[in-house]
Symmetry: C2
Subunit: 141 residues, 2 copies
Amino acid sequence: MADQEVDWTSHAESRIHEAGLKKSGPRGRVIESLAGRDCAATALEIDAELEGVGRATVYRAIEQLEELGLVQKVDLGGSAFGYEKVDPSGHHHHHIVCDDCGKVEPFEDEALEEAIHDIHRKGFKLEKHEVTLHGQCQDCR
Amino acid sequence: MADQEVDWTSHAESRIHEAGLKKSGPRGRVIESLAGRDCAATALEIDAELEGVGRATVYRAIEQLEELGLVQKVDLGGSAFGYEKVDPSGHHHHHIVCDDCGKVEPFEDEALEEAIHDIHRKGFKLEKHEVTLHGQCQDCR
DNA sequence: CGACAAAGTGAGAATGAGTCTCATTTACTA
DNA sequence: TAGTAAATGAGACTCATTCTCACTTTGTCG
Ligand SMILES: [Zn+2]
Ligand SMILES: [Zn+2]
Ligand SMILES: [Zn+2]
Ligand SMILES: [Zn+2]
């Protein structure tokens, strides 16, 4: 387990405690599952991975984590959304999707972040952003 | 009806003909509906607008148009996807979504487009991109 | 013109992700 | 330890989207 995972897990647990929520095993396992990945997974993938944890609990946990800004929802082009942990430092990545086979790869780009940071919109308080690049991967050319 | 709509409509109809597809009234009405909007609508909104056109036909038409690059799918954060016409010139916009009320506004940003254009990814042929900014609109502050 | 094949269509069934309900259990707090 | 609010899991439910299928339209060829 990498340091970052430990950090995110305990960070998540403390934010949950600060929010007045109770400690719980099933939600803890959802947090662990998210901590162990470096890119997005669907709610049903997590549900399938966690035997003995109900679907409703998985969705609820993800929802709570999302409200606390600990997890973000990402559209991976398929039929289900993906969810991935949010690094408290603000460090993040975006995604490239192969529209043929569905493969998803994370990427980072500083110039892109700057361009987005410079966008201001009257009447809107901007909080986050999502960028998805679409194309074809090597295997599908 | 603006010039651009006429252009996109006939452009769409010819591309459909070129693709070996047959002329059809119901699909024509779906094309009209998309032509008449300058931002995204959901499939069910279009279906509701077009009395006498079956749901399956609306979805099929959108799918065909999407495959021909005439329409693009956009994730508006809600439960359904939006679809909007693609200008053959390549001119396009992205979206700002209010996560509280769901309001969607289009925006354009040249610096953002340049930053995206400069992104290259080994093993991927990039074809399109989607950018969504999230925040709160004035009414929801 | 017909006649044929391929594309198109609409009603409704089916699918599948996500949400809701509710009776029961668990965690904190006084 | 009792009270209270949060948490849980099974399963019912919703709703966007896809699929099926019998039937119609379109375009082509003779
Ligand atoms: Zn990711
Ligand atoms: Zn970013
Ligand atoms: Zn738009
Ligand atoms: Zn763009």
